[in-house]
Amino acid sequence: MSTSAEASRAGTPEIPDSKSRAWGLAHHFESFAQQQEASYLGMWLFLVQEIMFFGGLFLAYIVYRTGHPEAFTSGSHELDITLGGINTVVLIASSLTMALAVWAAQKGRSKGIVVFIILTILLGGVFLGIKTVEYSHKWHEHHVPGPHFEWDGPDAPHVQMFFNLYFAMTGLHALHMVVGMALLAVIAVWAWRGAFTKENHNLIEGIGLYWHFVDIVWIFLFPLLYLLGRNGV
């Protein structure tokens, strides 16, 4: 399985004394390669966990949408395709800048890391700003679920169900972005101080995976929430 890890450990096992160890290599790893593979796998397992976490929400969405397609369509028509579309573009662009930040890390360019991470944070901020505008529209239109909710058309309970899921899914997604942006800010500071090298940039790689995952969630949320029944049928 772990071919390179095994290869790197196949030689005579030596415990390097603390002084000779490279900076950033934890005490219980033999090599940077082993440490990096461990953190990469760990991050992916965390994302698998995230897949299942969001998966439960998607399951509820599928069950209710197949049960009440008309209500979901009329709920979806209340969402603003333009804002949703712009946000999709913004978020994918932030994924691009994130990928470039990792690329800069692989090349060992600290300045590049900082620039691309700041761009990523900014794009994330734009996304959340637009999301806030959308949320406040919904608030004024009385489309936020709860006692405040109003709906004139047919099947109000299930239209509300659409908005329950809309807010739960986009809300959790936005929460993930806030967490991601906070982590990115910390990493930008560290990168500015030159904490990352060509060998040792696990953290950037890991946070990058997380950010792309958040992007993927949106890639599915956008058509499932915004684009229902737009063909007028």
Partner: protein
């Protein structure tokens, strides 16, 4: 602990003081932190069980109010499942032993390991807080719509506690998987791994893949209850039954989080005390993974009578029986390992044999419950209660205690008293069966679970069960006392008191902070006692040849 005569430094005396424990990233110390916390929760959960059995000693509900009784069984379930059984073997024994067994200095992510303990503790505090304020009465499954629309107890704070604790479980599983993949000592191939490690690998898969679904389900439950929106509430357009598959997607596989590690422990003990290679190593190893995977496909057996489609019912019935196959493979292979082995009856072995017997009963009654017709008859009766206690107490808990007795000398460097430990195994076995065998009959005769009063006809069996519970309670107290006693007065343990196989026995007892003074290399197959004997003999011969000239 008294001073070390040899003056040797190990993980326990390397540092003293509260900070050296609360900020430790040593997996062995974190295991001890878990051990203390789960023991507290076990005691609390046990107390609730005692109160319930006292109430049920008489048919009339006189000791506690019905509302109180509802809270008792709910908190008993929540504490025992989420705060004792789920972390028991993985977080204590797994944490302690995994790195030792694979010859690593620590888990892959030591800081995340410590964070898991804190997350677990925070979740525990939420739950304790709700308990002190009056508890919850929804049953440990938090079924909607009762939990969201009707119950006026502390549902949210308890659910938040369970939600938070879930992430401790996820992080532990993640840590284990990465550790097993990336940290094995040179020469330790997958099929040389101890079966304990295989079992924990399978357990970790369930933890990582299943727990998040429970988390999101609880999240939705909290949303609904907090903001009065209808995700499950039928009055607001929701489907209350949707909560059940979403909850059981995790909660059935959770049973395998409890019992798989226990099976791993039993595989270790049975080989060590039969002095034989395990029969069908690969079958036992793959059976762990098969149980983990199949365990995800069977949750519908909890919904046979709750508006689930009968077609789905048939499929779930079939899939549930399928899980019996890998489970039976394990039982047969342990039995075959015993065959013609040179068996010694030390305390861990008594517990392990107890596990095999009780788990078999629990498993077979599980097959009965997976059968649609029988399930409809005994649904929500004491038959079900008895069945899952045979799995979760007779199985998981016996394995945990067996493991504690097996590795206690390694963990603390001390031996416990032999007589008392054997007595405890016997008392627990008798007490357990006396408690739960009558419950099979009660359930079959139609006594429903979760009531604090019952018709007089059921009293004899209920008194037997309550009497058994008191014996069981004493049985649990005995090890608690002698384990604590042994830490100060116990005989010093050798590095390998059982002459068992495995890397954890090759380091000293208790192990040094970084586990091994030199990274070990592995050249033997797992449990190859015969080969090891041969090598030892050869070494003796060459040694004696060197001393005696000619």
């Amino acid at each position: 602990m008294s001073a070390e005569p040899t003056g040797r430094t190990h993980y326990l005396n390397a540092d003293y003081g509260v900070k050296s424990w609360l900020l430790t990233i040593d997996h062995k110390r974190i295991a001890i932190l878990y051990l203390i916390s789960i023991t507290v929760f076990f005691a609390l959960g046990g107390l609730m069980a005692v109160l319930m059995r006292l109430e049920l000693a008489t048919p009339v509900g006189d000791m506690v109010q019905p509302d109180t009784y509802n809270r008792l069984f709910t908190m008993h379930g929540v504490l025992m499942v989420f705060f004792f059984l789920l972390p028991s073997i993985p977080a204590v024994l797994g944490n302690f032993l995994l790195p030792l067994m694979i010859g690593a200095k620590d888990l892959a992510f030591p800081k995340i390991n410590l964070a898991s303990w804190y997350i677990y503790s925070i979740g525990g505090l939420f739950t304790l807080w709700s308990m002190l304020h009056g508890g919850v009465d929804t049953g440990w499954t938090f079924y909607t719509p009762f939990s969201t629309a009707f119950s006026n107890t502390y549902v949210i704070s308890t659910a938040v506690g369970v939600f938070i604790t879930g992430f401790s479980s996820i992080l532990t599983g993640l840590n284990f998987i990465v550790t097993i993949h990336r940290m094995r000592a040179p020469g330790l191939t997958w099929f040389r791994l101890p079966l304990f490690v295989w079992a924990h690998y399978a357990t970790s898969l369930v933890m990582v893949l299943g727990t998040p679904v429970l988390a999101i389900t609880i999240f939705l439950l909290g949303l609904e209850r907090l903001f009065h929106i209808g995700i499950f509430d039928p009055a607001l357009g929701g489907d209350p039954v949707l909560f059940q598959p979403m909850g059981w997607v995790y909660s059935h596989p959770a049973v395998y989080i409890l019992v798989l590690p226990s099976m791993g422990v039993v595989s270790e003990i049975v080989t060590a005390f039969s002095r034989k290679r395990i029969f069908g190593y690969k079958f036992v190893a793959y059976a762990s993974v098969a149980i983990a995977v199949l365990g995800f496909l069977v949750w519908g057996h909890h919904m046979f009578v709750s508006s689930q489609s009968p077609y789905a019912g048939v499929i779930f019935s079939f899939l549930s029986m399928l899980v019996a196959v890998p489970s039976a493979i394990k039982v047969f292979n342990w039995t075959a390992t015993l065959y013609e082995g040179s068996i010694s009856w030390d305390t861990p072995m008594l517990y392990a044999l107890g596990f095999i017997g009780l788990f078999t009963i629990g498993g077979l009654t599980g097959v009965m419950l997976a059968t649609l017709g029988i399930d409809i008859h005994v649904h929500d009766t004491y038959f079900v209660v008895a069945h899952f206690h045979y799995i979760m107490v007779g199985g998981a808990l016996m394995g945990y205690l067996g493991g504690m007795h097996f590795w206690w000398p390694k963990i603390t460097g001390r031996m416990y008293p032999i007589f008392w430990s054997k007595l405890s195994a016997l008392v627990i076995f008798i007490g357990f069966n006396l408690t739960f065998l009558p419950q099979f009959l009660l359930g079959y005769l139609g006594m429903p679970r979760r009531y604090h009063a019952y018709p007089e006809d059921f009293q004899v069996l209920n008194v037997m069960s309550s009497a058994g519970a008191s014996i069981l309670g004493i049985g649990y107290l005995i090890p608690l006392v002698y384990f604590i006693w042994s830490m100060r007065y116990g005989k010093r343990a050798e590095d390998n008191p059982w002459d068992a196989f495995g890397l954890e026995w090759e380091t000293s007892s208790p192990p040094p902070t970084h586990n091994f003074l030199e990274t070990p290399t592995v050249s033997l197959e797992a449990y190859d006692y015969a080969d090891r004997e041969e090598k030892r003999r050869a070494a003796e011969v060459s040694a004696s040849g060197a001393v005696e000239p000619g």
